[in-house]
Every structure is written in structure tokens, then in C-alpha cells.
């Protein structure tokens, strides 16, 4: 059915797809829906367009629905886009759309989140979420002096990454040698109102028992940072995730110890670069230094970095450094170009 709907695009797609000159690459960066995390993709697209002589645009579906994302991708094909970087609206469901694109020789890759193998995505470039959660918890334990009780606030339970994050936090705690205990995990708080309700209920009930908070999703980080600021509580140590202004400002003011930065800018920039090379005829190297995840055997870590009060004013420099490091060897490591 969906293939049939795409057929009218085939003629158009045939004209725009296939090996081509560098200048005719037109990359669309499509998140799963609106979220501040992806805003850096827009700047990355602009920078990639300027640096690599391609067209690159950031297009956001109106809502977090797979059907809306699929419709947008189909519409973008009609508009002449010939390469796609997609945050999968569904790790399995998005595969069908990527296969349709591949059928028209339009390359694609999964960005910030992976599709499940077998997939038409050339690669998955994203944060190693387990490593980020693990390192963030390690930083928290260090800030707590090596012992204490911690709470973990995280995102959607239906997101397979959430389970990986929970396990990674548990692993870091287990390695702490018995001095650290997880007293509560609160999940499914990716919307601001329930996050506010549940995090504050936790602080009301167990605020005096907890020594540290680690958050592994955007909204819980923002809400927990706000709550600690409202309480004026600097006894409870916290390590957040991502780069929301609220979190960064709480780090500056001493309410939060630091945040685990992801690298959305690098994802967009490196992804666009790779799409252009693939459009020019490069292919992915089978023996590249791929990482294996639960979803794919073709994962590339886009990097993560801990930023504390000393680095927070210039936090972007940390991610630029990570991006530069990946870019320096990306082509040689992952692509075969004649």
C-alpha cells in the first residue's frame, strides 16, 4: 500500500537519485517530532551546506507520530531531497520507509537513534546512551564522595534506550563497591507536568534520604534542576543530561554538578558529510570499527562529554572537539571511495 503510494514519486525520484555530482546532494534531516534536542541539527545542516557545497535542510514533523514522519519524508522526496538522515519514529516501523527510499537509490542513515537490523540505513550515528548514563553516574558518585543513595530519573519506558540507561546506571553503582545504592527509579516523565509532579513528590518523601540524582532524559533533567533550585538544595548532588539552558544555568549556580552532553550538532554535520560521500559513490566499509548495539551492528558513537561548572560557559567547545575528532578519520574508517 505504502509502496503504491510512493510510486508516483518514482519518476521524480529517478531523476534526482543515484550517483551524482557533489553539488546536487540534497539532504533532509528529519527528527521523529518536535524536541529541543534536535535544534542543533538545523545549525549542523547549515554548516554542512556551507562546508561541503551541498544542500541540507532540517525538517520537523508536526508531532511524534510515525505516520506524520513518513508522510513528511515522502513529501520531501517529491521536493527533490535525495538523501535522508532520520531519527526513527519507530525502530522497526521506520525501516519500511527507508527501504522504499533505498528502492529509489536514495541513501539514508539513522541519526540519534537506530533502526533495527536488517535495515536499509547505511549506518546509525548516535549517542551510546548506555555509556553516557554509565559515565554520568560515575561522575555523580565521584561528586558524592564515593558513597550515598541515588535516584535515577529517566524517560519513556517504551524507548528501548531507557532500559539500557537503567542497566548502565545499575552497572556504575555496582562497580562503586557497595557504598552506593539506587533508592528509586522514576520513568515515563518526558512530559513536563508529570515530571514536575513526580520529581517533587519524590523530593518531598525521600529528599532527606537521597544524596544524588542522575537524570538520563531531557525533561527530567530540566525539571529536577528547577526543583533543586526552588528548594535551594545544594546538598543533593546531581548530574543531568543535554544542554538545556535551565540545566546549564543550574550548573553555573552550583545546584547541578554537571551534565552529560550529547552531540546533536556533530550527528547532523557528520551525517550530512557521509550522505554526500555516499551519493558520490562511496560505500560503507564492512570491516569498519562498528559498534554493536541491541538494535544494529552498524553503530557509530557520536560522542559524549561531561561538562561541569568549569566548562559550562564554553560547553559547545567540548562537542566541537568530539566532532572534529570523529571527522578526522571518518572517511578512512567507515567508507570505501574510489
Amino acid at each position: 500500500m505504502r509502496v503504491a503510494r510512493m510510486l508516483p514519486l518514482a519518476v521524480l525520484a529517478a531523476g534526482i537519485a543515484g550517483p551524482a555530482m557533489a553539488s546536487d546532494t540534497k539532504v533532509a534531516l528529519v527528527p521523529g517530532g518536535p524536541h529541543p534536542y534536535f535544534a542543533a541539527w538545523e545549525n549542523a545542516a547549515a554548516a554542512a551546506a556551507a562546508d561541503f557545497g551541498i544542500e541540507a535542510e532540517y525538517r520537523v514533523p508536526a508531532a511524534w507520530e510515525l505516520s506524520k514522519q513518513n508522510e513528511m519524508i515522502e513529501s520531501l522526496v517529491a521536493q527533490g531531497f535525495n538523501a535522508f538522515l532520520v531519527f526513527p519514529g519507530d525502530a522497526n516501523g521506520t525501516n519500511a520507509t527507508l527501504e522504499e527510499l533505498a528502492a529509489f537509490d536514495i541513501p539514508s542513515a539513522a541519526l540519534a537513534g537506530c533502526t533495527v537490523d536488517p535495515t536499509a540505513a547505511s549506518f546509525c550515528l548516535g549517542t551510546d546512551v548506555a555509556r553516557s548514563a554509565y559515565l554520568g553516574t560515575k561522575e555523580l558518585i565521584e561528586a558524592m564522595g564515593g558513597s550515598g543513595r541515588i535516584a535515577h530519573f529517566t524517560g519513556f519506558l517504551v524507548d528501548p534506550n531507557t532500559q539500557l540507561r537503567i542497566e548502565a546506571v545499575e552497572q556504575a553503582v555496582a562497580e562503586a563497591g557497595g557504598g552506593v545504592e539506587i533508592i528509586q527509579v522514576i520513568a515515563d516523565i518526558d512530559a513536563p507536568e508529570p515530571a514536575d509532579e513526580k520529581i517533587n513528590a519524590f523530593l518531598a518523601a525521600r529528599g532527606s534520604e537521597v544524596d544524588g540524582i542522575v537524570t538520563t532524559a531531557w525533561v527530567p533533567s530540566v525539571v529536577a534542576a528547577t526543583s533543586l533550585r526552588n528548594l535551594g538544595d545544594k546538598r543533593i548532588r546531581m548530574v543531568g543530561i543535554d544542554h538545556d539552558e535551565v540545566v546549564l544555568s543550574a550548573i553555573e549556580d552550583g545546584f547541578v554538578d554537571g551534565t552529560m552532553l550529547q552531540n546533536p550538532y556533530g550527528q547532523g554535520y557528520i551525517g550530512s558529510y557521509a550522505m554526500d560521500l555516499i551519493r558520490q559513490g562511496c560505500t560503507m566499509k564492512e570491516d569498519a570499527p562498528w559498534q554493536q548495539t541491541a538494535q544494529t551492528a552498524h553503530f557509530i558513537d557520536s560522542g559524549t562529554a561531561f561538562v561541569d561548572a568549569d566548562q559550562v560557559k564554553d560547553y559547545q567547545a567540548a562537542m566541537v572537539a568530539v566532532t572534529d575528532e570523529i571527522m578526522a578519520t571518518f572517511k578512512d574508517d567507515f567508507l570505501v571511495c574510489n
Binding site: P34, H35, P36, F38, A39, V60, A62, A63, L157, I183, Q184, V185, I186, A187, D188, A191, P192, E193, P194, D196, E197, K198, N200, A201, F202, L203, A204, A205, R206, G207, V219, V222, V223, T226, N230, D244, E245, V246
Partner: protein
Amino acid sequence: MLKGIWGSDWFGLFVVALVAGTGLALFQPAFLSPFNLYVLLISFSLWALVAMAQMVIIAIGQMNLSVGAIGGLVAISFAGSMEVWGLPVPAAILLGLAIAALCGLLNGVMTHVTGISAFVITLATLSIFKGLNIGITEAQPFYGVPDVVKAFGNARFEGLPHMLIVPVVAIILIWLLFNRMVLGRQMLALGANRHAAELSGIRVGRVVVIAHVISAVLAAMAGMLAVARLQLGQPTIGDDWLILSFAAPVIGGAVLAGGHISVIGTCLGVVIVTLINNALVLLGIDPFFVQLFLGGLILIAVGLNRWRERRLAPA
């Protein structure tokens, strides 16, 4: 009077809430801590407005799927107008209420003029309002919320959050509307039997439009309270309101087909859901089973109330 209270459709819910509160206090002493009670009242403040916004539409026998989208649009307009245009807070509040009134007017007029189900109309406007929200914000929050608004979101007097003033006033006004005013009676009459309401001379279109405007204004108040509480204009405000907006009035005894609602029952519905959410955190329930417990406990609360009503009903 006691007999009247015993026979009221909300008494069973009151008992459920009381028992739940007492049980929680016994099992988890922190439940009665001033900060936890404050947190509960903050949650009640927001959810009561959301539930009232839906209850008004249920009263006329319709549904408003755009309650959260209106709340979200007003939230970002309220925060954005202060950050970008530097509007003073009162002007931003008026702007938010005006936007809500327009949204409600659109919902009401479209529903009445086209004759299409409000479910379909508000499904479409949900998308429009959310699309406007995303178009304006590009998914980025407005951070420039004035200190006075932030302070209001956190201020308390003797343990009572200042935010509570807004839903308390709204609840009193809504109670007066449905129990003391002709318009409220007309809404219930319309919900109970549209044909009979028309034959009795009720201007159905006017009532439908006013109900949608009231609903939107209540959603707007909730949206602005969320901004004050969260201290930023987050574009996702309202995304999570839909289920609770229906759950609380239905737990409170509202008939989805229209014609019967209970303001006190809806408030108790909000109290019960808030208590359950609070309990799930306080008792440290495994996050993977939270939804299961929440659904089960809501069913138990509704079941107990219906069981009591049947026992009271004349044979």
C-alpha cells in the same frame, strides 16, 4: 443535610480519597509532610483546571480533544509574549485568555455550524493549535519568564500554594454556573437531549459556543499555571493532559453522553488520581508497573463509587 451528603454522587469518592489518604499516611509518614502536601496541592491546581475544561464539554454531550493543545498554545504565547515583546504580565495573561477564547470560539462555531461531531472538529483543531505552537517555537522553550511569574509558581502561604487560588476561584464559578445559573442548566439540558432542548427554546448554538469558550479559557489558565510552575514556556505543555481530562470527570460521575456532571465529583476524581500518582512515587513502585497500578487503582475507585450508587438506588 447529612442525608443529602450521604446520598450525593460524590460521597463514595470522598470516602475512597479519605481512605487512600489515611492509608498512605500510615504506610508512608512522609505523605503528611508539609512539602508533600504542597506538592499535592500544586498538582491538584493544574489538573483540576484541566479536568474542568473537559467536564464543561462533557456536560453538553461533546468531547474536546484540543484541551491540551489550547493549554500548550496559550502557555507558549504567554511566555513568548513576555520574552519576545516584553509584555507586562497582566497584558500577557489577557493575551493568553484572548487566544483561548478565539480557540474556543473556533471549536464552538465549527461544531455548531458544520454539524460535524466535536470529536472530529477538535481532533482537527488539536492539530492546528499544536502546529501553531510548534511553528512559533520551533520546539524550543521560551526561557524569559519574568521573576514575578516564577515566584507565583513557587510561592506558598502556610503551606498552601498561591497557585491554588486560580482553580479554587474557577471551581466556585463553575459550580455556580451549573447549580445556580440558567446557562448551566441549558448546557445540561442540551447534553441530556438536544432535540428537547431545541424544542424548549434553548439557543443551542449559543450554548455550544459558550461552553467551548469556557473550556478553552480553563485550559488557558492551566497552561499559564504550568508556565509559572515550570518557569519556562515549554512547547510540550499540554501534551499529556488528554487522558486525565477525561478520567477525572468520569471518575467523578460524569456521563460521557452528556447531561450529567458533578463539579465536586470531578474535583474528587482529580484528588484520587493525584493521590494515586503520589502514592506510586512514595511507595517506590517499579517504574515498569506504574501504569498497571494506576489503571487498576482508578478502576477500583470508580467501581467502589458505582457499587455504592447501586446500593443507594431505589429498587
